[in-house]
């Protein structure tokens, strides 16, 4: 099996909820929609307090090209436009909607019938991209980059492949795994639509070897699609990183920033995004629900849910048996790159792939010791950097040294800190150094 070439670590899989089918989570009483739940400009609200809304109605429009509209996942009344502390830990503007009944926009096709790509031969690439843009679809693996922007590559770049990221290399998370087992046909149509949108004739769906059932099922279903190939990959973190995935699947390495995957001819989309694309294009359904894994060793019943956006995480945790007494940390996303939450009222957003509950013992970091110069951080770094040097350089404010050693290439995967035998908070330091150096580079460019 293939994998990426540089570095990588092997955290324990802990896929506790892998065998649990996706169940539909009940509607919340109040749904909250943060306006900035994607990369780029926040969305602008187009509803006012007291307005009645229905499921699928646009409640905020895109704030620019690199932005995405937001649709209501519930029907009811707009309570207020206020702030809420989201997964980033900052208070951000959000629309609050009091849920009343469950009235859907009639243009949404709610039937389970599969619409194949042959059934809609009149669809053009521009139409597909426009539908994706209007449906508010963003990268659902967690990065939340607006999908229509990715599908509009810079002029001059020749796109050869669409690579679907179904790696799910984060421990604990099983949302993509379950989605493939339960919606394989829809995903394949979604991939075909993405390929048509950028005009390529080769699509790959990359799945890690710890999901053999998904590999078998997708391989069987993909036989009807000669252009789509299922690629099983060796288990290694951070294989789901965009650059690592391209290297693993087609053996090309994206050069250092500002180069994009498009520069080497690849466009990466998450498998959840492909499913959302199918729903948006074929079923006229905007992005307002997604699969979320709620998991943790101390939870009574780790599970996978189909959740309406805006549902507070606490409600999902309650469905799994409630927050255990000994809870120390709740993470939005996976344990390697997820964000620790300040409270559990944070709503599910477009990028929420999981909720991880950790007990107090798991939640605490080990006592940091001195660097023993073992070089393990250098060995595991998937970008070929020297984390020990970058951390020390940050402590000593040696910004020139950091820039020369390519600190801006860091993808913040956390492999170095995961591995460090001395429990040094390497990535904490590297983040500080990276943002400082990025700022220095920016101001230098501006002053020219």
């Amino acid at each position: 099996m293939k994998t990426f070439r540089i570095g990588g670590v092997h955290p324990e899989g802990n896929k506790l909820s892998a065998a649990r089918p996706i169940t539909i989570a009940p509607l919340p009483q109040v749904a909250v929609f943060p306006l900035g739940q994607h990369i780029g400009a926040p969305a602008k609200p187009i509803v006012n307090k007291g307005d009645k809304v229905i499921v699928g109605q646009m409640i905020a429009e895109a704030g620019g090209f690199v932005s995405a509209p937001i649709h209501s996942s519930v029907s009811g009344t707009v309570l207020k436009i206020d702030t809420i502390v989201d997964a980033s830990g900052y208070a951000k503007p959000a629309i609050y909607i009091q849920v009343e009944d469950d009235v859907w926009d009639e243009s949404i096709d709610r039937s389970a019938d599969l619409v194949k790509i042959e059934d809609r031969p009149e669809l053009t690439d521009k139409e597909i991209v426009a539908k994706i843009q209007n449906a508010g679809i963003v990268g659902m693996g967690g990065a939340c980059f607006p999908t229509h922007v990715k599908l509009s590559p810079p002029p001059g770049s020749k796109i050869e492949w669409v690579i679907i990221n179904a790696v799910e290399c984060e421990p604990y998370l099983t949302a993509d795994h379950r989605l493939m087992l339960e919606h394989a046909d829809e995903i394949l149509v979604g991939v075909a639509l993405l390929m048509k949108a950028v005009g390529v004739h080769k699509g790959y769906i990359a799945i890690e070897g710890n999901k053999p059932d998904a590999i078998d099922l997708m391989t069987e279903k993909a036989q009807a699609y000669p252009d789509i190939e299922i690629v099983p990959l060796k288990i290694k973190y951070p294989q789901g990183g965009e650059k690592q995935l391209i290297d693993a699947v087609v053996g090309r390495q994206v050069p250092a920033p500002p180069a994009l995957p498009a520069n080497v001819g690849a466009i990466i989309q998450n498998v959840g995004t492909a499913f959302a694309v199918y729903q948006a294009v074929m079923k006229n359904k905007p992005l307002f629900e997604r699969v979320v894994t709620v998991t943790g060793k101390s939870l009574a019943q780790p599970s996978n849910f189909m959740v309406r956006m805006g549902t507070p995480m606490q409600q999902l945790i309650d469905l799994c048996g409630g927050l255990p007494e000994d809870t120390g940390k709740v993470v939005g996303g996976g344990p390697m790159m997820g964000k620790a939450l300040i409270n559990t009222d944070v709503p599910i957003c477009k990028g929420s792939s999981g909720v991880l509950v950790m007990n107090d013992k798991e939640a605490r970091r080990g006592q940091a010791g001195p660097c023993i110069r073992c070089g393990k951080c250098v060995t595991v770094c998937p970008m070929g950097l020297e984390p020990y040097l970058l951390a020390n350089g940050t402590v000593n404010e040696m910004w020139d040294l950091l820039e020369a050693n390519q600190i801006t290439s860091c993808i913040e995967c956390g492999s170095c800190q995961f591995t460090c035998p001395s429990h040094r908070p390497l990535l904490d330091f590297v983040r500080i150094g990276k943002s400082t150096v990025t700022g220095i580079i920016k101001s230098r460019v501006q002053s020219k």
Binding site: Q253, P255, L341, E362, V378, G384
Partner: protein
């Protein structure tokens, strides 16, 4: 929500690796060689090892507690224990104990703690101490008991020439017949030969190496590059002139195995990248052969490693890992 949540940056999990796991892993890997030294050198080996280990631990504790006034004590991290064991491995088993204590003080006090303790020293403490003792006590440090005497012998043990001194003499005089007096390769592999306590049994050291590789404590780069370099260099010399010992004898004799497996691989004083480690290993191998063949001392391993230690920061500065994307265009 009544209970407060911990908020910290990702990653939220850790591999479970620790300094202790690595350090005590090395100690376990040292066990076969330790038992061999007890077997071949008897009581003397036990006494010298205990003295070395206890004095290293004592100096680490004393300096931390009373000179640096640190609250956290570092003697449990296992690094002083390794220094103590490795220092003992580098000594003859009949050396007076006060010399061992002096060596331990130099290793921990001068080479390690003055630079800032674990992780900060430039040179391998045990090896620097050995070099210091070799210069300070040249007679005691180069009088080796013959292996396999009765258990109780210590200071009154019979002493004899080591394979390396024979090799040196043969090379100097150009008389290849001297090499016939060498013990057989099998004896040298098992350890039935004269020398420092921990270095005589290549087999025991190789078992330790396999253990460390299997647990991921070290990688193959340093030990293999040293051994291959020495084998190749001495092989060429042996073919050119039979008065130089055969490469098999060279890699099995003296401190080569001990140095390649346990000394040169010391985390703190070896390079960080695999490419740097290979350069470092080749440099140590070549320096060892040069010192063994042309230097004043029969053994060159410890000096070779110390010299290479001094180059480690330079190697780290120039040997960067292969950056992602730097080799664009390359296909699998």
């Amino acid at each position: 929500m009544t209970n407060k949540l911990i908020v910290s940056l990702s990653p939220h999990i850790h591999s479970g690796d620790s300094i202790q796991r690595n350090m005590y892993g090395v100690c376990i890997a040292l066990l076969p060689a330790l038992l061999c030294s007890f077997y071949f050198f008897g009581l003397g080996a036990v006494v010298v090892t205990l003295t070395s280990v206890l004095s290293c631990l004592f100096f680490e504790w004393f300096i931390n507690r009373f000179l640096l006034r640190k609250q956290e004590l570092t003697i449990s991290d296992g690094s002083a224990l390794i220094t103590g064991l490795l220092l003992a491995f580098n000594l003859p088993s009949n050396i007076p104990l006060w010399m061992v204590v002096t060596g331990a003080l130099f290793a921990i006090g001068v080479v390690k703690m003055t630079f800032g303790g674990l992780g900060c020293n430039l040179f391998n403490p045990a090896l620097a101490a050995r070099a210091f003792m070799l210069i300070s006590f040249p007679v005691e440090m180069t009088t080796w008991p013959v292996a396999g005497q009765s258990w109780a012998t210590y200071t009154d043990a019979q002493t004899g020439a080591t394979p390396l001194s024979l090799i040196k003499e043969a090379a100097k005089s150009g008389d290849a017949s001297l090499l016939d007096q060498l013990p057989s390769a099998i004896d040298m592999l098992v350890g039935q030969t004269g020398g420092c306590m921990g270095e005589v049994s290549a087999l025991a050291i190789l078992i330790g190496l396999i253990y460390m590789l299997s647990r991921g404590i070290i990688t193959w780069h340093i030990p293999l590059s040293i051994i291959v370099t020495v084998f190749a260099a001495t092989g060429i010399m042996h073919i050119a002139n039979p008065a130089f010992a055969s490469p098999v004898v060279e890699i099995l004799s003296g401190g080569l195995m001990l140095g390649a497996v346990f000394m040169a691989t010391d985390y703190v004083t070896s390079p960080m990248t695999h490419k740097g480690q290979l350069i470092y290993g080749v440099a140590i191998g070549l320096l060892t052969v040069v010192i063994r063949t042309f230097g004043a001392y029969p053994e060159g391993m410890s000096f070779a490693i110390l010299i290479a230690n001094a180059f480690t920061p330079l190697i780290n500065n120039y040997c960067k890992p292969k950056r992602f994307g730097a080799a664009e265009g390359s296909k699998k």
